[in-house]
Amino acid sequence: MNHLLAALRDPQSVLQLSPSQWDLLIRQTRHANLLGRLYERLCAAGLEADIPQRPRNHLQSGAIMATQQQYSIRREARLLRDALAPYEIPLILLKGAAYVAGKLPAAQGRLFADIDILVPHERLDAAESALMLTGWQSSVTDAYDQRYYRRWMHELPAMRHIFRGTTLDVHHTILPPTARLKPDARLLIEASVEIPDLPGVRTLALEDLILHSASHLFHEGEPDNLLRDLTDLDLLLQHLGRDDTAWDALLARAGRLQLSGPLGLALRYTESLLNTPIPARIGKQVGNDTTGSAGQRLLDLLYSRMLRPQHPSTADRLTPLARKALYIRAHWLRMPPLLLAYHLAHKAIFPPKLEELPPMDEKKAA
């Protein structure tokens, strides 16, 4: 039983939950990285007082964690701006950092693993030097991976700040240059907007934030965060929908950036899974009202499994298969067959070291 999806679609439904159902809801929500966001949503629905004490502790903990991260994101944004300013490189925030800096509803209760920024391709080297001078270090040490990122990817290998430990992804566009779809990063940069209360800090325009979120989710999203990313889209679309004409602009923009495909999927699954209010005429244009082609039905089959909390209680026999299939699809969309074969062969011959789990922390596990 997917209690989380039920609670997101209809917050009032939590009033019917028994203690053991609350238990499962909290576990699913933790696995989906949505504790803070669910708390905000239940509070917004006026249900704060109806959440029993124990589950409330967990939801509130997630929300408090998110609030604290938002302070640090805004601080990092100012520091990044100051690091890039001497070289006249604009700071353009993407994804979560953009939602927080722009105080969008999509910032609600969101947790972060890293900060993403967009830099014009021709200023990438200058930006990397400027960042290294202010304490950011490349976290990838393997020569093949370094080359792989720099030649084929849309971002530098992740950087990490030596003192603050924050992780930074520096993008020069939003999809790998080798991908089938080729959105033009210059259009994104031209349309970027300055944040009123953070002078010198910019984010993508709202339409572009939506299109980036969609292309990320349906091209390279990490399985554990797919549902979280879909709730981002839900909040972004609702924000956009304040102005009814914005929908048509969004579709036009998607066409211009070659991102109609991912946008179609975003509108399809936000509406069907999260009840996001999308005007009928828009849904019709992207085919939300039809079951679609055989390919679309296969994607529905896969995404209906992956757009769930990745918790044992919501998995079925097809879940592992769906996970693999979407992994392969992501790579297929990301690079042409020959390059993909070369990349996979290299990874097979020189398998990456398994990521080590941390040892039990002396202070934390005291």
Partner: protein, 304 residues
Amino acid sequence: MKVSELSSAEFSERLAGDGIRLAAGPFNCRLQSGVPEIAGELSRLYAHHPLIDDTQFVDFHVGIQPGHGVRRWLRPQARFIVDSIEPFTPLPRDQSLPMLEWGLNWCITAYSQHILVIHAASVARGNRAAILPAPPGSGKSTLCAALVNRGWRLLSDELTLIRLDTGELMGLARPVSLKNASIDIIRNYAPDAFLTQPVLDTTKGTVALMAPTQASVEAVDTPTRAAWMVLPRYQAGSDARLTPMGNGAAFMQLADNAMNYHILGARGFEAVGRTVDQCRNFSFEYSRLDDAIAVFEQLAGDET
């Protein structure tokens, strides 16, 4: 129903199956284990804790499982799992029991931002508590274990929990983790207390767990206020001596030892400030446990 009312066969069967569901102060825990040999000691450590039924909300679903593949038999390992997530590297299998305790501590610190969590022991007399924050090696757990065996009520030996709304302390009454020399000291000091077999060569040296007293477990939900903050330091050969500590220094001691001070922001600041204001704050040097206990008795007596 209490854990001790289960027969040892029932306990082992539940532990290997759905798990032992029990209440440890404010947290409901479900303990599972695929490592059967910890059952005996685990049931003694939690003997007085109330069982909860399977319709109740559980805060932490934790378990210990054997290592994967050959690590089941070859230099066998144990893994700590919380709701199918494995946050740590495995440890040698004979460290299963300490690993479960450390793992539960990790759950509390990682998942609880609705309270201030301080790396400190706390013990209570009636409804007044002493908080003992201190770095490892200061004798905090030894002193805490000694007090608990001389009429003080155990709230916690590692994690002191402070409510953000009322400022009250919440007890856990979970096992006390004794290290190295303090194991024999407490064995001699409190021969009636239940201690597990020492586990050698952990990252903290030799570790044994001491069961909380029955009175501590039974009174764990008593509303308790912090009355003293005592920063202990074991100093061989010294006389027991309390030295009053200024509010500023006391604040820094608590804030430094708070696990989530940086996450709670203003609320953390207020909670630490309120605790320091309502406590008499001291640093404390001692070597002989009996002398130390006498000092604490006097503290408790001063204000009754």
